[in-house]
Amino acid sequence: MDDGRQFEVMAYDDDVIPAANAENPAARLHLQEAMRMAEAILFASAEPVTEKALAARLPGETDVGAVLAELQRFYDRRGVNLVRTGDAWSFRTAGDLAFLMSREQVSQKKLSRAALEMLAIIAYHQPVTRAEIEEIRGVETSKGTIDTLMETGWIRFRGRRRTPGRPVTYGTTPAFLDHFGLEELRDLPGIDELKGAGLLSPRMPANFNVPMPLADPDALAEDEDALTDVDLEELGLLTPKGGDD
């Protein structure tokens, strides 16, 4: 089935309590009991539980971050993993066991290609306005496509762009992260390369380098200055944020 896995060290016979804590028996007991409680709460809920909600249910002096980190490590190579999405945590079956789980599969409505494309644009370019989405896709967006995406619960209105006309901006939801198994937006596949290549910019960046069949790509045009380090830094900063929030 999955012969590439490393079986030598399995979570099932792993000693998860860190040596540092082991020195203090009281702290160790406290951590272990907090782990049991967190485990029970997280197991009981099908939805991700926020750290805040978890902290409210654990004894006051608990270091929730440490408890979650220990639990995550403990479940790391097991059949069920503890995963983080945004500021919430949940138990999910291990991805490599998908082949076993056909019985649990819920039939999912297949998204149209237009809807998928729009979803990707919203995810990678957020916050993004409808006009910007249409500019990237080169076609107008039908209301039905937006409705379909809204129904999935993966996109939302984020706010309004502080530009003339104050257009509505779109972004993704925590449910989007949960569904696609992303810890945060910066984990979107390939986002760093896309950003680096200037492909998440609304307009063609000045340093977008396309070799011209008719021109020497390195020669500067008459109305062009060479880029300075400051420019490059600015360009990096000015590209629309692809998920640092």
């Binding site: 809920s45 909600a53 080169g138 039908s142």
Partner: protein, 276 residues
């Protein structure tokens, strides 16, 4: 950008990344299979089988124009934005053939071509991103939540759930229901003056040489059955622009071709107008 987007060809695209109707540049025409001109261009660019950064925009323009010509020969209805793109590419092609020449806005044909390549590349990048996204381990398909949850742990403030989208949809629907009584505007089959003018400004407005209205514009923009309205509206818009001093117009004799050029680019000349 009028009717092109109202009903995109969603139905065709119920499969992820499936093959399109066209596999060869040799015109197996299925224009309904494309979601707008950019989609068609991207498909043609991929057929050049080189990296997008190295495609020949000139070749791409030729292929696109051939595709449109083929579609029109078969009397397929083409959405307006396909035709606007055709006219723009015809313009770009003519500029690319004379390299290093600056346009009225100071941009070279190469820069226009690079901007097009950027758009194609960005669209392709988003397509790839969408494909990578749907192929991740997904909840309910590859990974699963607890099948028998014992409690719902939620924060108190979420007890009442409603999204901004729900709210705005309700508001807009409510206001609209009460506001719209019986106003229904039938779809127009004529070119409006504003449309014609917008297209003229975009195309002829920057051409510095005498350009035939028919040869250059009408051929790409109008369906055969729209020729009359297209010529009429374009001509009317032309006159308006001449009156504003932005355009010059010339006609050798009655019923012969109309030539236009941008006024900024030329020395003043007498304007003569014969009705055709």
């Amino acid at each position: 950008m009028k009717k092109g987007g109202d009903t995109p060809f969603d139905a065709i695209w119920t499969q992820d990344g499936g093959e399109r109707g066209v596999s060869e540049p040799a015109l197996l025409i299925d224009v309904d299979g494309f979601e707008g001109p950019l989609d068609l261009l991207l498909h043609l660019a991929r057929n050049q089988k080189v990296d997008l950064a190295r495609i020949s925009v000139l070749e791409l323009a030729r292929q696109y124009l051939a595709f449109i010509a083929g579609a029109r020969a078969m009397r397929l209805e083409l959405a307006a934005d396909y035709l606007v793109m055709a006219a723009w590419l015809a313009y770009l092609k003519s500029r690319l053939l004379i390299p290093k020449q600056k346009g009225p806005d100071g941009e070279t044909a190469e820069e226009l071509a690079a901007a097009l390549q950027f758009r194609l590349k960005r669209l392709e990048a988003m397509r790839d991103a969408a494909a990578r996204l749907v192929n991740r381990n997904r909840l309910g398909r590859d990974v699963f939540a607890r099948g028998m949850p014992e409690a719902i742990i939620v924060e108190r403030q979420n007890q009442w759930s409603a999204t901004l989208y729900d709210l705005l949809t309700a508001y807009a629907a409510e206001r609209q229901r009460r506001a719209v009584t019986n106003v229904r505007i039938a779809r127009r089959t004529v070119w409006s003056l504003a449309e014609a003018r917008e297209i003229l400004e975009r195309l002829i407005g920057r051409a510095s040489d005498w350009t035939a209205l028919e040869g250059f514009l009408i051929d790409f923009l109008a369906r055969p059955d729209e020729r009359a309205t297209a010529i009429a509206s374009s001509f009317a818009a032309t006159l308006e622009m001449v009156r504003e001093g932005r355009l010059e117009i010339r006609q050798e004799s009655a019923f012969s071709a109309l030539y236009l050029r941008s006024r900024a680019a030329a020395a003043p000349k007498p304007v003569e107008v014969d009705h055709g």
